[in-house]
């Protein structure tokens, strides 16, 4: 589903210094597969996600999603791709304050549906994510875990084939974090979605089909307790 070929992104900072954020990275993820990616701060995780989402152009290499090279698309088509084929679960829970949970979850559906239709369409997904009793609550009335699930619902609302998750448990306590990881794994397999999970959370490995480590812009095999593993996983 997702194929990254020799992806390169270097940044020039200061006086001639070059930061190799992503340096010849290749990776493929099949449908229904959850890949967890560990890496310390500054390892290039965010740059990699931005390039897969079409928000940042690579210096070289290609990002193939469903057989199509995202880097070759126009800006408008890249936006369409993000909206309809990609689900992006972000660390920041930027729900629209004062607005109901179902409206927040259905935001992406508004591109093609009227509000009432979008609300109806999102209902089963909210139910699946355990938010069926909370759909009418406003954003600020939800717990952090519920807010994260609303963000997951938004990401999955357009039935994407690829989901990118950036530290989805970053704002949650241990129990809620486990719940979310479990949920993502279930959804990935149930919906046959290719999922790339970028995280620091040592428990994520347990839910992933494959685990990789990212350092200095390159991928390494993940070794639990090894040099590239997060401290908790050692």
């Amino acid at each position: 589903m997702l194929e990254l070929h020799e992806l390169v992104k270097h940044f020039r900072v200061g006086e001639g210094e070059v930061v190799r954020a992503v340096d010849g990275l290749s990776l493929s993820i099949a449908r229904g597969e959850l890949v967890a990616l560990y890496g310390p701060s500054g390892s290039g995780k965010t740059t990699l996600l931005m390039m897969i989402a079409g928000l940042l152009a690579p210096d070289s290499g290609s990002v193939i999603v469903g057989g199509r090279d995202i880097t070759q698309l126009s800006e408008r088509d890249r936006a369409r791709f993000r909206r309809s084929e990609l689900g992006f679960i972000r660390q920041s829970l930027d729900l629209i304050p004062g607005v109901r949970a179902d409206d927040n979850a259905a935001l992406k559906l508004l591109a093609s549906s009227a509000r009432r239709d979008a609300q109806r369409a999102i209902e089963p997904l909210l139910e699946r994510l355990g938010l069926d009793g909370r759909a009418l609550q406003r954003a600020e009335q939800l717990s952090m875990g519920e807010r994260q699930r609303v963000m997951i619902a938004r990401a999955l609302s357009t039935q994407p084939t690829l989901v990118l998750a950036d530290e989805p448990t970053g704002s949650l306590d241990t129990e809620r974090g486990m719940e979310v990881l479990s949920l993502l794994a279930e959804v990935c397999h149930e919906r046959d979605v290719a999922m790339l999970l970028v995280t620091h959370d040592p428990r994520a490995a347990a839910f992933a089909d494959r685990v990789r480590a990212l350092r200095d812009g390159q991928l390494f095999e993940f070794e639990p307790g090894g040099a590239y593993a997060p401290s908790g996983a050692r």
Binding site: T46, L49, M50, A53, L55, E75, R76, A79, R80, F81, R82, R83, S84, L86, F88, R90, Q91, S92, D94, I96, P97, G98, V99, R100, D103, L107, K108, L110, A111, S112, A114, R115, R116, A118, R138, E140, Q141, R154, D166
Partner: protein, 841 residues
């Protein structure tokens, strides 16, 4: 809490919210500026007349004054001086004349006085010695007047007095050091003898200013009343100022009404800006509570915020208002200058400054304290940490709606019961304003809900995202504050401008009623042409009649008459005029019968406010206090023909009897059938020879009258435009700030696949709906406000008003404000959506 700590906290926080604080300062500044500028415009108009009056009368407290434009015999002076208790009696001859120089002409108040005026310690001549005055030849005019007409010292000028042209010279231009504030007044000072000679009124004066001996005012006033007889009146020395204040009343009240609306718009502007900083202040209060500070200490911190904001905002506003009063809102006397010596002096009273500054401080107090009152005075730290909207807001909505409905009911009751005085009119208008503010939240929610239900026809992702944002409860207060700003500004503008238009249309009808019904008018030149109130010798009729184009010439008489504290306009159309009193000016009585009675003689019509004041009804007799007092019967109650102190209509012949004088103030000329107006004009002009009379067509005469009346009302239009512009900018600034703060969320939405065009469209849709809803609700209330003000103008002041619903004005006003604000918002909106997509806050 120590002042040093408060200052430190303020300084630290100011760095973080400088833009928002500047917006709040601008909001308060705009409100203060509009309030201050309109106050100065009002005080300047009154002040110019009051100052000139006081500068002339000096220590005099009472005067004996002629009712007759021909004045009275100068011998009366000796009789006044001989009265018991009189310390000093000073003769004055005063005439409205036109002075022509090399560069043009100007209407001035010619004041003829002698050296005895110096003994009154009159500030007007405080710096002129008796010798200088005795040696003066010609006219002393302020340098401003000399400059305007292009006259230099000792150069010849022409005086046009009634139908006569007289040559004289300019003695010396008077500087401010010579005549003080009168340096900006339209006056010309001459020795009494010379003034009498120039005006053709040898040995005649028209008033004697009297300074009684200490403590003998009552005695002197009684003696003067005994001496006066029927042709003279005894008045306070500053009577002109009193009469002018009465005449200027409606213009002042309408300007003050707009000042209040301006202040409200300014306050809402500030309130909008303050709402942006509320979360920061709320966090500060929470931190202070956690650190153990008590409510009164937190109140001190907030009080410092109020004082800093209010003081800076007020200072900015006073400076801006000063500039406005110099340029856009200069005192415009309009038609009032026909009866009063209105100058261009700018009077800034301490009261104007204090009122405006107090308004600024009040806006700051409400803007800071109102949204945070719970947190400051009763809140606990735990309550403060939640950002959830309070449930009580929802419970308050039906109560507010009920209050709004009650306010509308109150205004309607006052309207149906005929608004009888200014207080009732003001109360009804502000009750309606309150109704608007109280019903706005429910109306806003209802409209948003309705649009949400009808969303299918509104295509596109942008409009749907906009709707989601508008449905947010968290931003509801801010949205309502923005909508209220537009609503109040549009409401005030539509109501006042609508009433203004109706009044203008009504005045045009009144002008038509006076001007039409003849082909040509022959009148003295200058502004005297407008109302035809300057008398001249009746010796031109035969020459005009002899011209082949002329079918007939009729005498028209008009003038001003002081009735109580009112300087009433008296119209005396000839009996032959088919429009003796126009049907659309009659409020009570039968127009046909009224015209019949006026033709008959011994009858007159009085305007409504005069009738109310004197207790007159149709058919009742009234002894007119004219130079030759006579008893008339009231044929009808009319409008005031646009002259705010009141108007009387009688036939020209009745006028001549009541004034005991055959002089006329205009001729109405009818041309033969088939004769062109231009041909007629030219023949009548040649018949007038070298006189100072001018001839104009009836439609031209009407246009001049309308122009004079419009000039007096122009201030309203200027303020209305400023209020709308301020509101548009206020809303744009508030929305712009709101959108700018949303950049983080916009960055996230870009990651979700929304492109810049869609997001910009969403922001514009949201702004458009917010603006359009607020302005439309304001326009709707504005139409009702217009009806209210129309009725107030008729009921209270007796103005001729052509009732209408200013639908186009309402639509255009709401549309223009929305469009301006939207155009301004488009820029920060565009910059906000250019934010880079972000995965984290």
């Amino acid at each position: 809490m120590r002042l040093g700590t408060i200052l430190y906290l303020y300084r630290v926080r100011l760095r973080a919210r400088l833009v928002q604080e500047l917006l709040a300062v601008a909001g308060i500044g705009v409100g203060v500026a509009l309030l201050f500028a309109s106050q100065v415009a009002n005080t300047s108009l009154t002040g110019s007349v009051v100052r000139l009056t006081n500068d002339l009368v000096g220590n005099a407290t009472v005067q004996i004054v002629a009712r007759d434009p021909h004045g009275f015999d100068e011998a009366m002076l000796a009789r006044v001086q001989a009265l018991a208790g009189v310390r000093l009696a000073v003769p004055v001859l005063e005439r409205q004349v036109r002075i022509l120089g090399a560069r043009g002409g100007q209407d001035v108040d010619l004041i003829g006085v002698n050296t005895t005026l110096l003994a009154l310690h009159s500030p007007l001549l405080a710096h002129i010695s008796p010798e200088q005055m005795n040696e003066q030849k010609g006219l002393a005019v302020p340098a401003s007047v000399a400059g305007r007409i292009g006259a230099r010292p000792l150069t010849p000028v022409t005086l046009q007095i009634g139908a006569r042209d007289v040559q004289t010279t300019i003695a010396l231009p008077l500087q401010e050091s010579d005549v003080g504030s009168a340096a900006d007044s339209p006056i010309a000072i001459a020795r009494l003898g010379e003034a009498q000679q120039l005006t053709g009124m040898a040995d005649r004066i028209d008033r004697v200013l009297v300074e009684p001996q200490r403590g003998r005012d009552a005695l002197v006033t009684g003696e003067l009343h005994r001496l006066a007889g029927p042709g003279l009146s005894v008045r306070p020395a500053d009577f002109d100022a009193t009469v002018f204040q009465q005449a200027e009343g409606p213009a002042v009240e309408s300007t003050e009404l707009f000042s209040a609306i301006s202040a409200l718009v300014g306050f809402l502007f500030a309130f909008n800006a303050m709402l942006i900083t509320v979360p920061q202040r709320r966090n500060l209060i929470a931190d202070l509570r956690l650190d153990g500070y008590a409510s009164h200490e937190i109140a001190q911190v907030m009080l410092f915020d109020v004082l800093a904001l209010g003081a800076v905002g007020s200072l900015v506003g006073l400076a801006l208002g000063d500039a406005l009063s110099h340029s856009l809102l200069q005192a415009q006397p309009g038609y009032l200058s026909l009866a009063f010596p209105v100058g261009s002096v700018r009077v800034v009273s301490v009261a104007s400054i204090l009122i405006a500054a107090a308004g600024g401080l009040l806006a700051a107090v409400l803007g800071v304290v109102f949204p945070l009152r719970r947190e400051i005075f009763t809140g606990s730290a735990s309550e403060l940490s939640t950002s959830a909207p309070r449930a009580s807001a929802g419970r308050r909505a039906p109560g507010a709606l009920l209050g709004g409905v009650l306010c509308i009911g109150l205004s309607t009751t006052l309207l149906l019961g005929e608004i009888e005085n200014v207080s009732a009119a003001t109360f009804a208008f502000f009750s309606l304003t309150l109704a608007l503010l109280l019903t706005l939240p429910m109306a806003f929610t209802a409209v948003i809900g309705l649009i949400d239900r009808m969303q299918r026809p509104v295509l596109g992702v942008s409009s749907r995202i906009a709707m989601i944002e508008l449905l947010s409860r968290t931003t509801r207060s801010r949205s309502l504050a923005i909508a209220a700003t537009g609503a109040i500004a549009v409401y005030g503008s539509v109501a006042v401008e609508g009433a203004h238009q109706d009044l203008r249309d009504g005045l045009e009808r009144a002008a038509a009623a006076v001007s039409l019904g003849t082909d040509l008018w022959v009148t003295p030149t200058g502004s005297a042409t407008t109302l035809a109130t300057t008398p001249f010798e009746n010796r031109y009729a035969a020459a005009i009649r002899s011209r082949p184009a002329v079918l007939g010439v009729a005498d028209y008489r008009g003038g001003f008459l002081d009735v109580g504290d009112r300087r009433v306009l008296v119209l005396g159309p000839p009996r032959s005029n088919p429009r003796l009193v126009s049907a659309d000016q009659v409020i009570r009585g039968d127009p046909g019968l009224a015209s019949f009675h006026l033709r008959e003689g011994g009858w007159l019509t009085v305007s409504r406010e005069l009738a109310t004041e004197l207790g007159l009804r149709v058919g009742t007799p009234w002894r007119l206090p004219s130079p030759a007092p006579r008893t008339f019967r009231v044929a009808a109650i009319t409008t005031n023909f646009g002259w705010s102190p009141g108007a009387i209509v009688m036939s020209s012949e009745s006028f001549a009897r009541a004034w005991g004088d055959r002089d006329v103030s205009a001729y109405q000329v009818l041309l033969r059938h088939g004769q062109s107006l231009s041909g007629g004009l030219s023949q009548v002009r040649s018949a007038l020879g070298s006189s100072a009379l001018v001839v104009q067509t009836a439609s031209r005469h009407q246009s001049n009258e309308i122009a004079g009346q419009r000039q007096g009302l122009a201030r309203l239009t200027a303020i209305a435009a400023l209020v709308l512009l301020a509101a548009a900018l206020a809303m744009a600034a508030a929305i712009g700030a709101m959108l700018w703060q949303r950049r983080g969320r916009l960055a996230g939405m870009k990651v979700d696949g929304f492109d810049e065009k869609e997001l910009w469209g969403a922001l514009l849709w949201e702004s458009l709906m917010l603006l359009a809803i607020g302005c439309s609700i304001g326009a709707l209330f504005g139409l009702y406000g217009q009806v209210l003000l129309d009725h107030a103008l008729v009921s209270v002041a007796g103005f001729p008003v052509a009732f209408s619903a200013a639908l186009w004005l309402a639509v255009a006003t709401a549309g223009i404000v929305t469009a301006i604000a939207l155009l301004v918002v488009a820029v920060p909106g565009y910059l906000a959506v250019r934010v880079s997509p972000a995965l984290q806050d």
